[in-house]
Symmetry: C2
Subunit: 329 residues, 2 copies
């Protein structure tokens, strides 16, 4: 199958770039030092590649992701790095499942739902989930009282991962990890789980890094001084060319996560306007109706979540087609 | 079934608000004066409600939408209001299908693909698809030479539909329609298809209006002086409450279209931060873990496209659950 045979818009992943990204990361963080986050690709076939690169434990953001990974035989050690209340669904998953907890209510839900293992989620600066650091120890005690195994702590320096200044990123990562290490000191357990693609090499104190974006990458992470390449593009077809100097292709708001702003485009084309199923762009060189163009998402995770399939490509060849089988909740 | 039984995040539609929106629109634009755009909800069950309100022709944005509407028995008169090149898929749909064309290439594709009827898409000011007005007549002639029936013209004043100043919206609608009416004069045919929810009552010259958002509505359209209510919300569960004055619920970038900015929330809560599966918000009144909250999307179309189901609700009751069955391409 060739690129030209695909129905567009289509998610395409460059096979060489993906391989290179997986290889670089597994060299930097071999085996259990990385717990790849599947929310970035929602694709068990891609997760299997990460497993083949040596990482046997995975991070998930939703119960659907946990259940789908287990169903695909990738359930050796799944961490749901998010608070959930409907733990009965989670408790039925046939896999080793650990869930993040940050309150009495989420501990109760885990215990009632039949989940056996938890991590204490500690707030290390990002205004989101995670308990206050001084509550980590009492929550761990409560969890153990309720019969749960506390495997350790997690935290997410999400306000740090995107900082372009490496020195600042390093400094703030240390501050976040000071908090998490102190909490771990009191909580115990073998896991200190933290980090993301932006701090994969500045966070040296976590026992495992929850990076996801590194595999496919996006234009936002591409601004950082990290060695991963943009493997993902939305292949699009030029459907209209206007003599006033612009053209239109058929991807848009329903095939691209837009929270980080407009996408980029290959070949020097400039994005002007994004609508539901259209991108109006200024071509760097003349294009004609029917041309294929590559659009580069600003944010990989919410882009992938719009698509049913990922096509692994090399040049003009489509090597494999993978289901994006972890969507929904 | 009750609201509390739903897996969140979940798209919920208030039954009374939806009914009222459908009724108001069918009174303003009865029967064929409205060609509801299904891209706003991607749901054949909701389209059936629009049919029951008197509108038998529909507007689509993708081949998948056309095929899905036909498969659901809603194919009496389907307009694909967008340029496409893979018309062989479109030509196989068993329904009355009309496609927008704006170039020789798209006319060729329609003729080769076995599509029988077209509209000449005319650019009336929005920098997107549509031919230059002076090319409408020659393109119509070309289409007829190739054996296609030209049913008329279409245009979209997409740069006007969101203007909050009614007088300006009215004035610019007239300017756009001057162009489209002149093109129609030369092209002929029974259809002059244009408009959207924002110009449903300022565009009085089109024979049919392609409005979609009016049924469900969003916070962006809610700023206009139009009578439609916000029927759609993303029902979310509070998963974490921080003593520093914020809380977190479990919807986010993968359940909300973000191109128009952050969503709103009911009950006076303020959105601070949106992440993949989290919204950090400032509660107007204390909330506890497990509370259900309603998030109001800024843009309905790319929100719906993330979800598998729409739940029709009334108070705490879930009345019906509909598949969002027109997603993808």
């Amino acid at each position: 199958m060739k690129l030209a045979d695909l129905t567009t818009p289509a998610l395409v992943v460059d096979a060489q770039a993906l391989d290179q990204n997986l290889k670089l990361m597994s060299q930097a963080l071999p085996g259990p030092r990385l717990r790849p986050h599947v929310k970035a690709h929602k694709c068990t076939a891609l997760a299997r590649r990460q497993l083949e690169a040596g990482h046997r434990g995975f991070t998930c953001a939703t119960i659907r992701e946990v259940a789908g990974m287990a169903a695909a035989g990738l359930g050796e050690d799944l961490l749901l790095a998010n608070e959930v209340l409907d733990c009965s669904r989670l408790g039925r998953v046939e896999a080793r499942v650990t869930v993040a907890v940050d309150s009495e209510a989420t501990i109760d839900a885990a215990a009632r739902g039949g989940v056996k293992e938890v991590l204490i989620d500690v707030n290390i600066g990002l205004p989101r989930c995670g308990c206050q650091p001084q509550l980590a120890a009492p929550l761990a005690e409560l969890a153990r009282k309720k019969g749960l195994v506390v495997r350790g702590v997690m935290g997410y320096e999400g306000h740090v991962v995107g900082l372009e200044d490496r020195a600042l990123r390093q400094e703030l990562t240390e501050e976040c990890m000071d908090i998490l290490m102190a909490a771990h000191e009191e909580v115990g357990g073998e896991l200190i789980s933290a980090g993301g693609t932006g701090t994969y090499d500045t966070n040296t104190r976590a026992t495992e890094i929850q990076a996801g974006s590194y595999a496919l990458m996006d234009t936002t992470y591409a601004k950082l001084d990290i060695p991963f390449q943009q493997a993902l593009a939305v292949l699009s077809t030029v459907i209209s060319v206007n003599p006033n100097g612009y053209a239109v292709c058929n991807s848009g708001l329903k095939s691209l996560g837009m929270d980080h702003g407009n996408p980029g485009m290959d070949d020097g084309h400039s994005v002007f306007l994004v609508a539901d199923e259209h991108i109006t762009f200024g071509p760097a060189a003349p294009v004609v109706v029917g041309d294929l163009v590559r659009v580069r998402p600003a944010h990989v995770d919410p882009t992938v979540a719009y698509h049913e399939r990922i096509h692994l490509v090399s040049g003009d060849d489509v090597l494999e087609t993978w289901a994006v089988d972890l969507r929904g909740w």
